[in-house]
């Protein structure tokens, strides 16, 4: 019988701790597929962030390390500057990347560090129990915005792809989503492309992935996926912001 699906080899066959309907497990799998397909498992180092996905190193079968909250791009810089031939992946959530770690995010991007940042945007703090994130939408209720995010008090949600797109150095910037099959397939290609560019030494890549957090949103997984597709993707436009590889005909 022909196998139509197999687990990526770089993804360990273990039970994940994520909640039902959480996007992290999908994104981990996409990352593992990309690592398999590019044949880079034995030279990849994954940086786990502070947040729900800190245990990513239990799931991806690669060398890994942790970063203090927000500092993953700095850790990535230290790794890459000492080992330029390794593949360095900084996997970060929204609070990590766009609140406490905005400085490191922008400066690593601005230096054009040859690293890949995977930015999981689920518009909320997951592990700490559902507080407002820098990407929480206007009106969205969280434990620290009980009546909904009020931009007059806390500003508007940050669009990180758009901000990073103001910088000269980044090589590849794309926003994808994992709320349905079509978008999961697109996200899979984007993550692979980002790692491929790094492997070819082409420079900094940033892939923002819109993702679900049904537990902290207080909805079921189906509604959560619908909310990403209809509401989040309306504010955070899915698409390629920059692809120098495409412009330069990189194969």
């Amino acid at each position: 019988m022909k196998a139509v699906y197999t687990r990526p080899k770089s993804l360990r066959d273990v039970k994940m701790h994520y909640c039902p309907g959480c996007g992290h497990s999908i994104i981990h799998k996409l990352l593992a597929f990309a690592i398999d397909e590019l044949g880079i498992r034995e030279k990849t180092i994954i940086i786990a962030p502070v947040g729900c996905s800190v245990l990513i190193y239990d799931y991806i079968d690669c060398d890994g390390t942790e970063a203090a909250h927000g500092r993953a791009p700095a850790v990535a810089t230290g790794l890459k500057r000492t080992m330029p031939d390794k593949i360095v992946v900084s996997y970060q959530g929204d609070g990590d990347l766009a609140a406490i770690g905005t400085t490191e995010t922008l400066h690593a991007a601005n230096r054009g560090e040859n690293i890949t940042v995977i930015f999981v945007n689920n518009a909320i703090y997951g592990m700490t129990g559902g507080q407002m994130a820098p990407t929480t939408l206007v009106g969205q209720k969280t434990t620290t915005t009980p009546t909904g995010r009020n931009p007059e008090l806390v500003g508007l949600p940050l669009k990180m792809c758009e901000i990073i797109n103001q910088l000269e150095a980044p090589y590849y910037i794309e926003r994808v989503s994992v709320h349905d099959v079509k978008n999961v397939n697109r996200a899979r290609k984007a993550i692979k492309k980002a790692l491929d560019y790094q492997n070819k030494g082409l420079g900094y890549s940033f892939v923002e992935v819109l993702s679900m957090c049904p537990t902290n949103w207080g909805v079921n997984p189906v509604v959560a996926a619908q909310w990403v597709g209809e509401t989040m993707a309306d504010y955070y436009k899915i698409g390629v912001f920059r692809d120098r590889g495409l412009q330069q005909g990189v194969k």
Partner: protein, 358 residues
């Protein structure tokens, strides 16, 4: 004639530059840091020198970024350092705690300036508590080395990198604005011959081996973190038992022992010389490792019948004096004289205070 037997020439260097050469001789090729006075000669020197020898200098966007770049670089097993001064070192404390928890070697130079807060840019020793009590959150210590001359500062960098690697722990070199800024003649140190354990913990891509993780998070199963902390504690006990360093000057027959480290000890040495010229039996005890602190030796000295009193002299309002008291353990009186916020203890004041109790 081999290179090693060529007599090295004396050179005249600023402390901040000499420590860079010491680090380079120790094999450090990676430096990440952020500007702050009074240590700016360190990044300036490294930015020129490291690229010449195939190393990497990177000016970070903050001290937070710098210490976390150090984490990343240290994961490779290569020797890496950063430097800063008091407010910047405060910003690095979270990262230093992570380095201790993750058992990553690194060397951190603190050219201490006056505080609290932005304080001033003058030399001080007021980061003693912070340096010797871990500094950040959690159950840990860092080794703290306190040189008192430019020569010793250059030499101590070799020791610092060795200790960091041997014990897989961050090491702090504690100087101050005087030590960093002044020029003194020195002979550049020789590379170390100490045996460094094989680095079988580095992460460089899991080629032909099981993947490794370098982390400080230990959630499950309980008591995973306690077990880890007890392992760290065992390491600290070994460091306390084997790595204490101090200098004794004119101490054999001393009736008054003055305890001082770093720049303050230079004032004390001069005072000891002046009082010895008047046949006063005064000596200097200079801790070189502030952690581990030489408690045992101070206890021995305090049990000598000749010794009447201890005098602790610092460039702060009394921090190391607590450790001196712990060492002396009530056997003798411990007096204190210090100046703070960039002021240097004055020789004539110290002499007067000593003669009052002699």
């Amino acid at each position: 004639m081999s290179e090693a037997t060529v007599k090295k020439e004396r050179v005249l260097m600023k402390g901040n530059e000499a420590l860079c050469e010491g680090a380079i001789i120790a094999g450090c090729r990676y430096y990440f840091g952020y500007p702050i006075t009074p240590q700016n000669e360190v990044p300036a020197y490294m930015s020129r020198r490291l690229p010449e020898i195939g190393g990497v200098f990177l000016q970070a966007e903050s001290e937070l970024a710098a210490i976390n770049m150090v984490w990343g670089a240290s994961c490779s097993g290569k020797r890496v350092m950063t430097s800063s001064s008091s407010p910047g070192i405060s910003l690095m404390q979270e990262g230093i705690s992570y380095l201790a928890g993750g058992e990553l070697p690194a060397v951190i130079v603190n050219m201490v300036r006056g505080g609290p807060g932005l304080g001033n840019i003058a030399p001080a020793q007021s980061d003693y508590f912070q340096a010797t009590r871990g500094g950040g959150h959690g159950d840990y210590y860092t080794i703290v080395l306190a040189p008192s001359t430019v020569q010793e500062l250059a030499n101590i960098m070799i020791d610092a990198f060795d200790l960091a690697d041997i014990y897989r722990t961050p090491v702090v070199v504690l100087g101050d604005g005087v030590l960093g800024q002044m020029m003194e003649p020195l002979v550049l140190p020789e590379p170390s011959t100490r045996k460094i354990p094989e680095k079988d913990w580095i992460i460089d891509g899991a080629k032909g081996r099981e993947p490794r993780i370098i982390k400080s998070l230990r959630l499950n199963p309980q008591p995973a973190l306690e077990e880890h902390n007890l392992k760290l504690r065992a390491k600290y006990e070994k460091i306390m038992a084997t790595e204490v360093r101090y200098e004794e000057y004119m101490i054999d027959d001393a009736e008054i022992i003055i305890v001082a480290f770093g720049t303050a000890s230079r004032v004390v040495r001069s005072v000891v010389n002046q009082l010895r010229a008047e046949n006063k039996r005064v000596g200097l005890f200079r801790p070189i490792t502030l952690w581990p602190f030489p408690y045992d030796r101070l206890k021995e000295l305090s049990e000598k019948t000749d010794v009447k009193v201890f005098f602790d002299v610092e460039m702060n309002l009394g921090q190391m004096v607590e450790d001196v008291k712990l060492g002396v353990n009530g056997n003798k009186k411990v007096l204190f004289y210090g100046r703070t916020a960039g002021m240097i203890p004055e020789e004539d004041v110290l002499i007067k205070k000593i003669l009052e109790v002699y």
